[in-house]
């Protein structure tokens, strides 16, 4: 009847038997959760509103559409977890860390998505009258499931002793603290069992399944057509992931992927390469290629910031240098040089130009530490932009065509493969942006390779040592300046590499693309945010951070002018609650959560 997390051997004396957050008996609560989630599933097949004015057409009986699909997934997840908690045969693998916490989070995910939908319908269309019975049913069903889930018992933490001298305010603070502790405990799950060694083909199949799931989620997110669906997607994806995490599946999956790191990384690239084939037109491949550019540059910045600990606030300038260099030799009519280099040569020129700039900027500035370096690099980033603006023939030599930039950059043509044309591969039409997507993926692979290999080597250890304690690193014989300059130069040339492709993707290179902070990524602030948000020193962190930072402003058009405000708010919240980023580097996690029962042994799977 019960699962691992319930039924403690020694009930805490203060609170007696474990109870849920809501005073419903456990059996009833579990039944309610199951019943509610089953009903939720059923009601997604009903019509929720009478008019197709609400996007997604939720008026059809028989098959769910738009937000209903998300609710259906949430309901299914909750149902499965509930069934697993009843010890239904064959579902035990779903909840290696105990089912109850997972049920709670999954029910919360379903509830939030459902109620968001219902409320969105009511406000969009003006009133509750616009809801069909199906809408009411699903709202009640998901609420029931949530209430049932919250009634599931958990081990309450023992309250701290109350200080009798406390004033009212302190008492209030004490109660809030205790409530928070209880809430945390209610959502706490056990430690998942270790995955036994499966045959390697089975493990690889699991990795493939995980990657396929990731690709599906990502493709769905990119393909969301209206704001409501995207918000619903964010809620469902975020809380659904949390539910899987509580169930212990995420931990098990990461154990398996850690065993086959190379396969996982290759598989991830294959999955990413599949993305254009899931699309019928070039519309979302555009987003894909911009995300890749952004993510690649963020990963390059991660070498500088995450490994070597050099806070670079002008990093986007190196992207700009690469892009300008490639544009100048691209044969564009606006370029003062009348040359048209082949792509490999343009890539070399772009990367080399960025390298030279990196060394030129790095050599004088890297003698500074910490905040001072940040300020100086910020300045250099702006110097690049203003210089590019002024090299227009009137205020300086004509090199960059001033604020008009270098336009009409021709499409790439590698070995007769014209990137500007549509190609048909195995029955799939691959458009212009999809072509560039593949090229950019190649560049990303190069950057990932450089990051991984250099990070786990003598030079990478020297970078981390410099970040940890510069004086001690010097005393260990590390030439700090040289090593930092290498990090700076490597980061710069990787950004330049991405820049060469960017110039061709965007047709035009203007100084205004390379701001410190602006609404459109990539810019220096967003790049740094992607690294910090995703997780410093990791590979997947900046990639995911960049994808989110690009998609959210792109999809939520209504944010408009409040975009930067929302972005700042999100960053503050993240720094408060998860300073190590979404994908924590093992080291960072230990650094920020010292009091937690962190594993003392750092296994080989670093990032």
């Amino acid at each position: 009847m019960t699962t691992q997390t319930t039924a403690p051997e020694t009930p805490t004396p203060a609170t007696g038997a474990p109870t849920g957050l809501i005073g419903i008996p456990e059996k009833a609560g579990r039944a309610l959760a199951l019943g509610g989630s089953v009903l939720t599933i059923i009601s997604t097949f009903l019509a929720w509103t009478w008019t197709s004015a609400f996007p997604g057409d939720l008026t059809v009986y028989g098959y769910p559409g738009g937000l209903q699909v998300l609710v259906l997934i949430g309901g299914a997840l909750t149902t499965l977890f509930c069934l697993a908690s009843y010890n239904v045969k064959g579902l035990g693998w779903l909840v290696p860390a105990g089912a109850d916490a997972a049920i709670k989070v999954a029910a919360l995910a379903t509830f939030t998505t459902t109620w968001y939908t219902v409320i969105a319908i009511s406000t969009d269309l003006g009133g509750l009258v616009n809801l069909e019975p199906g809408g009411f049913i699903v709202a009640i069903a998901s609420l029931t499931a949530l209430l049932g889930a919250l009634a599931l018992p958990f081990e309450r933490p023992e309250p701290d002793p109350i200080d009798p001298d406390d004033t009212g305010w302190e008492l209030f603070k004490y109660q809030v603290r205790h409530k928070r502790e209880s809430l945390k405990a209610a959502l706490a799950s056990g430690t998942p069992r270790r995955v036994g060694t499966l045959p390697s083909y089975a493990e690889i199949l699991i990795i493939v399944a995980v990657l396929a799931l990731g690709l599906t989620v990502f493709t769905y997110g990119i393909g969301t057509e209206y704001d409501e669906l995207f918000i619903g997607f964010l809620i469902m994806a975020g809380l659904g992931f949390a539910a899987l995490n509580k169930a212990g599946l995420v931990a098990q999956a990461s154990q398996i992927t850690a065993r086959h790191q190379n396969i996982t990384i290759c598989g991830a690239f294959v999955a990413a390469a599949m993305f254009p084939f899931t699309q019928t037109d070039d519309q979302y491949a555009t987003i894909g290629v911009y995300i890749l550019i952004f993510a690649t540059v963020a990963l390059g910045l991660n070498i500088v910031v995450g490994l070597a600990g050099l806070l670079d606030l002008g990093y986007v300038a190196f992207l700009g240098v690469g892009a300008y260099a490639a544009a100048l030799v691209s044969g564009s009519p606006n370029s003062p040089f009348d040359v048209h280099f082949p792509f490999w040569a343009a890539v070399l020129v772009g990367a080399l130009a960025s390298l030279v700039f990196g060394v030129l900027i790095g050599a004088p500035t890297l003698r500074l530490r910490g905040d001072y370096l940040a300020i100086v690099t910020l300045g250099f980033g702006e110097i690049f932009r203003i210089t590019a603006n002024n090299l227009d023939g009137t205020s300086g030599p004509d090199l960059t065509n001033g604020s008009n930039g270098i336009s009409s950059i021709p499409n790439l043509n590698i070995l007769g493969f014209d990137f500007g044309l549509e190609h048909t591969i195995a029955g799939f039409t691959i458009g212009r942006f999809a072509n560039y997507f593949f090229l950019m993926l190649l560049i990303t692979a190069v950057v990932v390779l450089v990051f991984r290999r250099s990070g786990d080597s003598r030079i990478g250890r020297a970078w981390v040592a410099i970040r940890e304690d510069e004086t001690a690193a010097l005393a260990m014989g590390i030439n700090g300046f040289r090593v930092k300059l290498i990090a700076f130069a490597v980061g710069a040339s990787l950004a330049g590499l991405a820049g060469t492709v960017q110039a061709h993707v965007t047709y035009t290179v203007t100084p205004e693309q390379y701001l410190f902070a602006g609404a459109i990524p990539p810019n220096s602030a967003f790049l740094l945010a992607a690294v910090v948000l995703g997780g410093m020193g990791t590979i997947s962190g900046p990639l995911i951070g960049a994808a989110l930072l690009y998609l959210i402003p792109n999809k939520l058009q209504f944010l408009g002018d409040y975009q930067l405000f929302a972005f700042g708010l999100a960053l503050i919240l993240l720094m408060r609650f998860r300073p190590e980023g979404m994908i924590p580097n093992r080291r960072r996690q230990l650094e920020f959560h010292e009091e937690a029962e962190a594993p003392t042994v750092l296994s080989k799977a670093g990032a």
Partner: protein
């Protein structure tokens, strides 16, 4: 006596470190004034003095963290370059008074960082990963594990340095310093905050290091530790070297006692006697403790 046992089996001869007239001024403050000190191969030399005497400043002058205002430091006959990483490359390794490990790296990684000067693989080698890279990396790891075994940390190679207990962090610092294959090891208060057992273990460790043919210069406040360990002891007071010699000479010197215990008042009755008694006691204690200790170290 203490010196007999230590000098007998090692060949003292070649001068490893030769500091001549080292003076370090910070503005108007002269932290180190005209200090001469030599360390010969196979020797353990102690550097003692009251707090603020300039011991660590002198160390920093030796290791290139500070550039001495006057004077020069020679290592095996060549003048040391004024950059700390070049000093390490030349063959002088050090530990720090306040432990400065790379806290978020593993124990093994810490030692591998210490190998930096003795390996050459650069960025391209790391990215291209030729056979030479793997060979060098494997050799480095093997050497690092040997060193961890030497200090007794081989079982904790995968732990984060920050999670080690205090005494083991000190050991790790020594292992990290040894990884650079130094000819001279500078230890800055290696037993600060340790209990007697740990101090004892550190003593053994320092002897073992000496037996590897590495000269050791050690700063310490624990007099028993110093007089057990060192062939020669130099006393630094207010930036100047007061005296240098074997432990008996140093312990018997009035100026040293005065520097540690303070000068007696001119007319204070009984103060002189008290100082004498204390000095005698200290001497007696040190010698009696040292004698059995030495036997075990052989």
């Amino acid at each position: 006596m203490t010196t007999d046992t230590t000098t007998k089996d090692t060949t003292v001869g070649q001068t490893v470190l030769d500091a001549r007239g080292v003076t370090m001024r910070f503005g108007g403050l002269t932290a180190v004034r005209d200090v001469n000190l030599t360390v010969n191969s196979g020797e353990i030399v102690g550097l003692i003095g009251p707090n603020g005497a300039g011991k660590t400043t002198f160390f920093n002058c030796l290791t290139g963290l500070y550039i001495p205002t006057e004077g020069e430091v020679r290592y095996k006959g060549t003048v040391l370059p004024p950059k700390s990483f070049k000093v390490t490359a030349a063959g002088i390794a050090r530990t720090f008074q306040n432990i400065r490990l790379f806290a978020n790296m593993t124990v093994l990684e810490n030692v591998l960082v210490g190998r930096h000067t003795r390996t050459k693989e650069g960025f391209w080698s790391a990215v291209l990963r030729g056979p030479g890279f793997h060979k060098a990396e494997a050799a480095s790891r093997e050497r690092a594990m040997e060193l961890l075994e030497f200090v007794g940390l081989e079982k904790k190679a995968d732990h984060l340095a920050r999670n080690l207990p205090y005494g083991e962090q000190r050991k790790l610092e020594i292992a990290r310093a040894l990884a650079s294959e130094p000819g001279l090891l500078l230890l800055d208060e290696p037993t600060a905050g340790m209990n007697p057992q740990e101090t004892r273990a550190t003593e053994e460790l320092v002897f073992a290091i000496r037996d590897k043919g590495i000269a050791v210069l050690v700063i310490e406040h624990d007099m028993r530790f110093i007089f057990n360990l060192c062939d020669r002891v130099a006393v630094l007071v207010q930036g100047q070297k007061l005296i240098e010699g074997d432990s008996a000479t140093v312990q018997g010197d009035e100026r040293v006692i005065a520097a540690y215990l303070g000068e007696p008042f001119e007319n204070a009755p009984g103060e002189e006697e008290v100082a004498e008694v204390e000095a005698a006691e200290a001497k007696a204690e040190a010698t009696t403790d040292a004698a059995p200790g030495k036997e075990n170290d052989r």
